[in-house]
């Protein structure tokens, strides 16, 4: 098998992940794009591990470590998403502008019914 086959699959998956992060409005769907990108990187690591015959299996070990980091990331991110949902009532990343750089005209800050209760 030519080495560039798995690398090309990884590149395409990474680009698809970039598209998901840029285009999706729901925060959970953005997270799915991040997962796709992490998996693309893992394919690269495993392919190069097989190619270089690394005696320490650095590629596979690093892929395992990235899977662990992705698990930690998804746990934290979902806690943040749920917290945003509790305070704002939605997880639309386009409308979450409390930390945005504002223009001169002040937009009213959204106060959800959950917060004002």
């Amino acid at each position: 098998m030519p080495l560039w086959w798995p690398l090309l699959v990884a590149s395409l998956l990474f680009a698809i992940g970039v598209y998901a992060v840029l285009v999706r409005r729901n925060a959970v769907l953005v997270l799915m794009g991040v997962e796709l990108m992490l998996n693309a990187v893992n394919i690269n690591l495993v392919a190069f591990d097989a190619h270089f015959r690394d005696a320490l299996h650095g590629g596979q070990t690093f892929a395992l470590f990235i899977i662990v980091i992705a698990a930690a990331e998804i746990g934290l991110a979902l806690a943040i998403v749920l917290m945003v949902f509790r305070t704002h009532g939605h997880i639309d990343v386009d409308r979450l502008r409390s930390l945005a750089d504002r223009d001169e005209v002040e937009e009213p800050i959204e106060v959800s019914p959950v917060m004002s209760r």
Binding site: L3, L8, A15, I16, R24, L29, Q60, T61, I67, A72
Partner: protein, 173 residues
Amino acid sequence: MSVVEVIFVLLGLIAVGSALLVVTTRNMVHAALWLVVTLGSIAGIYLLLAAEFVAWVQVLIYVGAVVVLLLFALMLTKAPTGPQEGMNVGRVVPAALVALLVAVLLGTTVVAGFAGVHLDLDNAVVGSAETTGRTIFESWVLPFEVLSVLLLSALVGAIVLSRGRDTGAREGR
């Protein structure tokens, strides 16, 4: 083409096709389920690339745990189950252009850079549980321990975040 190559091409096509469905479907639950197909075929690619243990960890953690967590998040944020409009931002075309640019740049780079390199899988050392365990606990112990601390801190952070500020207010803080 050998059998391994045919299987690899099929798995790669399934992975890329279902990943495209993940990012284009109008149904959020279907996106999570197509993600299962993508991650499962990536596990198959790991198996072909002689990374047996990584493949099973992928099945257990990604397909088993991460997708279930994503489905729970969709459920807890009251995501609509049917197909719906307005899931994408208005700037679809620039985003698609950026993604296409990333695909073309990365793709041409790896294809041009590794065009003549042959990946010999016949004599590769299979990363079985024994091999992976040996390498992790002989050569990679320190990063492994650092990673366990990272997992612990992520766990504590997730608990603290999901407790929210309601409990703090109730305790009079």
